[in-house]
């Protein structure tokens, strides 16, 4: 990196004053390179696991085999780099535990993201001889408009909230839905969310009203808002962004995209931090009149 050298004789305060007004496209170029170059190398670095990430893994691990789990996919393609790796690893862990999975989406794109994650998980050779069957081991009830109203309505009746699955089958006819009426019939709820409608609404209208146990995967932008709920026990676990995905992959022993992208993350963070430091130097130098 051609980093400006403050001790070089030609660089006086004039340089720093100009630097403070640096064309932002130069920063853009550094960011692009910082992200792209590490992709060409395999960077091994130990991933520290946060308490909330460990709790996420452990609470699934503690589920009795064969538990019924409801997963809500509340995100769209832009957030998939952060949430898709979590979803894939979660599906794998749940299938290993023979859990029965019902997927819904409160964002229109959610069910399609879920389908893709399911397809990836099902390709895993470990589940080949389990003969996982649609409608019996897992089902996708599709998207429903209505935001928090949908969450609230499922307290009363899930089947009338989602009358048909995303293929157009009547939900009531799916074997997996036998005996399911509301949240009380699920052992566990998992929410992947990147904004509104999302974890905040799930905690408000599902967890607090039905007493259900829930964990969540959030984008890193969203997560700060939901840390209080993890702290208070309204969420049993929380994954925050790509780091969260990498943590989970680490604990679950299933290396995936989360871990492999952390190299680029490291470099890009360093670039940002470096520019902030340089920006501050420039700020102080140009403020002090020489």
């Amino acid at each position: 990196m051609s980093q400006p050298n403050p001790s070089a004789p030609t660089l006086g305060p004039g340089f720093w004053e100009k630097f403070a007004l640096l064309d932002r496209r130069i920063i853009f170029a550094f960011i692009f390179l910082g992200l792209a170059l590490p992709l060409f190398y395999t960077i091994r670095q130990p991933i520290p696991v946060s308490p909330e990430g460990r709790a996420y893994y452990q609470s699934i691990e503690n589920l009795p085999a064969g538990s019924k789990v409801l997963l809500s996919f509340d995100y769209d393609p832009p957030s998939s780099p952060e949430l898709q790796p979590m979803a894939e690893a979660t599906f794998k862990q749940l299938f290993t535990k023979n859990c029965k999975l019902v997927v819904i989406g409160l964002w229109p794109q959610g069910p399609q993201q879920a389908e893709q994650a399911l397809a990836t998980a099902l390709r895993d050779p470990r589940f080949k001889d389990k003969k996982l069957e649609y409608g019996v081991n897992y089902a996708n009830l599709g998207y429903m408009a209505g935001n928090e109203i949908v969450i609230q309505k499922m307290n009363a009746d899930i089947i009338s909230t989602f009358p048909s699955d995303y293929k157009g089958n009547a939900t009531a006819s799916l074997p997996i839905m036998r005996g399911v009426r509301n949240y009380k019939n699920f052992d566990f709820i998992i929410n992947f969310s990147s904004g509104f409608v999302g974890t905040r609404e799930w905690v408000q209208f599902c967890v607090d009203r039905s007493g259900a146990k829930m964990i969540a995967g959030n984008t890193a932008v969203q997560a700060p808002e939901n840390y209080p709920y993890f702290r208070s026990g309204q969420l049993k676990g929380l994954l925050a962004g790509m780091k969260g995905a990498a943590e989970y992959e680490t604990v679950a022993g299933q290396p995936g995209k989360g871990i492999s992208f952390m190299g680029s993350q490291s470099v890009a963070h360093l670039v940002v931090i470096l520019f902030v430091i340089l920006g501050n130097i420039a700020y102080f130098v140009s403020r002090r009149k020489w």
């Binding site: 060409f40 009746d157 408000q204 607090d208 984008t219 890193a220 790509m242 780091k243 680029s264 963070h269």
Partner: protein
Amino acid sequence: MPGMVSLTLAGFLTLGIMSFVYKDNPIYKFCESIFIGVSAGYYFVLIFYQSLLPQLTDKIGLTGALTDSALAYYRQSGSLASVQWFNLIAAVLGMMMLMRLLPKIGWISRWPLAFVIGSIAGLKLIGELQTNIMTQIQKSILPLWAPQYVDGSLSLAASIGQSLTNIVLVGGILTGVIYFFFSKEHKGVFGGAARVGIWFLMVTFGAAFGLTVMSRMSLLIARIDFLLRDWLHLLG
């Protein structure tokens, strides 16, 4: 394996949008227009199949996706929502919403809007109180001295650590709430507490900013990975 044509299209669209960071240009505008049109169409189709068919026409009986088992379920659960003419009202309210497009009778869309506003106001009044006030009070009740025991005997270091954590948490919440207090001037001790409160808010924003950097970088890594790996096969 998706075809090269599809991938090239996706690659072109990706580069087209990215060109904006250099400068606003016609190719970006072109790609952005495609995006606006496609996303509108995407929602248009999806809402039809996944909301209106199951919630409206299936229940009224226009499109017969409801099998016998579903009907049996409705009869058994006795849900009023399955009564046909009830759902016709929903259709009428929905059409009223669309009336906003017509300047003359656009005001009628206020009726369904009022319906939505009322329900969300009712839900939020309770939901915010329960989740963000009462439960947060309950979970903020922490001892300021929190003795920790390791193998049955008191560990002073761990106890001080935990106690500090609790003090910071409770202190931050209380001073933060004081900052949001509007009917008293921020002066004296009260003003000092409010100032500590704003410090906590700043730490909060800093942490959130830091996490967001990771979030945004993730999105770009995935796009670059797509360009270099899936499209151009430069990566193994």
